[in-house]
């Protein structure tokens, strides 16, 4: 499988006047095309820092991030936008954008200076709408639809950006079980049908174990990347939460509260 993003001896963390705070050291991660990869870890462990570093928003303390075999820090903003798209957790500012217009904004890296959509752009937007099955919402305003629908719209926007890699920050938060499952399945379907690589952070570990191709698990000691079945068999999940009341049941493949 083709490697889309990889890191080599990457150290992540923050530099401030008081000194250097290291969050994780010597990371060698590989994100391959056509795979759905989930990033899990307790709150405050540094998932966001990791995502910020591999998307080039934040500089690594040391080591490198390679996107398509090229150092991510060498990318111009526009080139980067054509190779990597994001779905963020932040609330959208108030605007009158319709769903179609919002998805069409994903075409910005390709449009001319007045932001005019070409025929090809319109085709890509339509494709994104149909892949996420939200064609019926196209003319609605983005503030008129439910959270679950909005999340799909934001994913459609990332699809319209037409990048080999999509990274989502906790897309399943605020959704009920039904919509969580349908979102997971949608992302899974997208990786299979479009051969994109999708990486997303989540707290829905049970679902992640069942549906993701690979998982990146962050604990204070280390960060491991492997297939869910391997992580279960080598007992990695029992280190995820440092709490005696939460135990991982390897047979059922889920966490149990005692």
């Amino acid at each position: 499988m083709k490697n889309i993003l990889s890191t080599s001896s990457l150290n992540i963390g923050y530099k401030s006047k008081k000194g250097v705070t290291t969050i994780a050291e010597n990371l060698n991660l590989n994100l391959e095309a056509g795979k759905l990869i989930t990033l899990i870890g307790a709150n405050g462990i540094g998932k966001s820092t990791l995502l910020r570093t591999i998307t080039g928003i934040q500089k690594p303390l040391s080591g490198n991030v390679y996107l398509n075999e090229r150092n991510i820090s060498d990318y111009q903003p526009l080139e980067l936008a054509q190779n990597l798209s994001l779905v963020l957790t932040e609330k959208l500012p108030p605007s009158n954008l319709s769903v179609f217009e919002l998805v069409a904004l994903g075409r910005q890296p390709y449009t001319n200076w007045v932001d005019k959509l070409s025929d090809e752009d319109v085709v890509k937007v339509q494709e994104a709408l149909s892949l996420t099955q939200i064609e019926h919402l196209a003319s609605k305003k983005h503030f008129q639809i439910s959270d679950g629908q909005l999340q799909k719209v934001l994913i459609a926007r990332a699809l319209a950006q037409d990048t080999p890699l999509i990274i989502l920050d906790e897309p399943t938060t605020h959704l009920d079980l039904l919509h969580k499952v349908s979102l997971f399945k949608l992302l899974k379907k997208l990786t299979q049908e479009t051969q994109k690589c999708i990486l997303f952070s989540t707290h829905d570990i049970d679902l992640a174990i069942q549906l993701s191709d690979e998982m990146i698990m962050m604990t204070p000691e280390n960060i491991v990347q492997d297939q869910p079945c391997n992580l279960i068999s080598n007992g990695s999940f029992s280190n995820l939460f440092k709490d005696e009341h939460i135990i991982f049941d390897a047979e059922k493949g889920k966490f149990i509260v005692t």
Binding site: T55, I57, P77, L78, E79, L80, A81, Q82, L84, S85, L86, L88, E90, L92, P93, P94, S95, N96, L97, S98, E101, L102, L105, G106, Q108, P109, T111, W113, V114, D115, K116, F143, Q161
Partner: protein, 322 residues
């Protein structure tokens, strides 16, 4: 509307003479021709420049600051201009007499106003480099507004009735009294501002999803923000200098455009804001000099009388206030 603005005024001039004067022909009375060419035509052009410029800077700020209540006042640029003018008019008494004559000329006032708004522009730019949060810049702008109001009221306390009257007249706004030379300068400034705004259409669309999404779509945010702030400053700075601080147009017009077209697409908003900006300013101008009345109302009062209810109406219909 442009034509109506030229045709209507305290002196009644027949339509065919208006047309004759404009097309270079001979009007029945030479005074009529003089009024049209040297008073009403410049005033109508100024109205268009002021209306489009202020409205456009309002549109830019509302999107940049993600705040529907942003307008040219919010960055504190108009306040800065007022402060400059207040210093000149109200503080002229402290200057030696020959200096105060220069300061009180219309050029002195324009210079002071431009200096004032440029000063605030630099302050805002410094703040925007240090604070990454756009909300913080907004608050700094508001604070600067209150600060200048306070300074102005201190100055008022020490000034004579005559000085006070002069300052009050300036602060009521005036579209007339502009010579052809000053109109050329104003046109140049507004032209630059509008060109930069047109260049910002795409970044503005990206910013509808917020800063981080905009960056992820390949936007050079710092550069785009600088262009937008500069366009805003040159538009509102130049206009305030020449026509006084004109209220509400910058705030209300972009909303009228957004409500009419029910869109956030800045390509459409750009043209509709230009359109509504000039129409509304010309309308306010006609109202301010109603035919049949000898008095000309201050333009700032007219824009406020029309603009304030529009803003309240917008707030009440909050669902559409996006």
């Amino acid at each position: 509307m442009f034509f109506a603005s030229i045709s209507l005024g305290s002196v009644t001039i027949p339509l065919k003479d208006v047309v004759a004067s404009l097309t270079g022909g001979q009007a029945t009375k030479s005074t009529w021709e003089y009024i049209i060419i040297n008073y009403r035509l410049p005033k109508a052009i100024t109205a268009v420049l002021v209306g489009t410029g202020l409205s456009m800077s309002g549109l830019l700020m509302q999107t940049l600051f993600r705040n529907p209540l942003a307008g040219p006042y919010v960055l504190g640029l108009s306040s800065g201009a007022s402060l400059g003018v207040a210093f000149v008019i109200l503080g002229a008494g402290f200057l030696p007499s020959f200096l105060s004559v220069i300061a009180l000329s219309s050029y002195g006032i324009v210079l002071a106003s431009t200096l004032g708004s440029t000063l605030v522009l630099f302050l805002v730019l410094v703040v925007s480099q240090r604070l990454r949060d756009t909300m913080a810049i907004l608050i700094v702008g508001l604070m600067f507004g209150s600060f200048t109001t306070a300074i102005v009221s201190v100055l008022t306390y020490f000034s004579t009735a005559e000085q006070l009257q002069k300052f009050t007249f300036w602060s009521m706004g005036n579209l007339g009294n502009l010579s052809w030379t000053t109109i050329v300068i104003l046109t140049f400034c507004v032209g630059i501002g509008l060109l930069l705004s047109a260049k910002s259409i795409k970044p503005l669309n990206a910013l509808l999803l917020g800063e981080n999404y905009a960056k992820s779509m390949g936007l050079n945010f710092k550069q785009a923000r600088l262009v937008i702030i500069f366009a805003t400053s040159i538009l509102s700075g130049a206009i305030t200098a020449f026509a006084g601080p004109i209220a509400f147009v910058g705030l209300a017009v972009p909303h009228i455009a957004k409500l009419t077209f029910q869109t956030s697409n800045h390509t459409i908003l750009f043209w509709s804001t230009l359109f509504f900006g000039s129409i509304i300013m010309l309308f306010c101008d006609i109202v301010s000099q109603m035919p049949g009345f000898d008095v000309t109302l201050p333009i700032n009062a007219v824009t406020s009388i029309i603009g304030a209810p529009v803003v309240i109406w917008l707030l009440v219909r909050k669902r559409n206030f996006k």
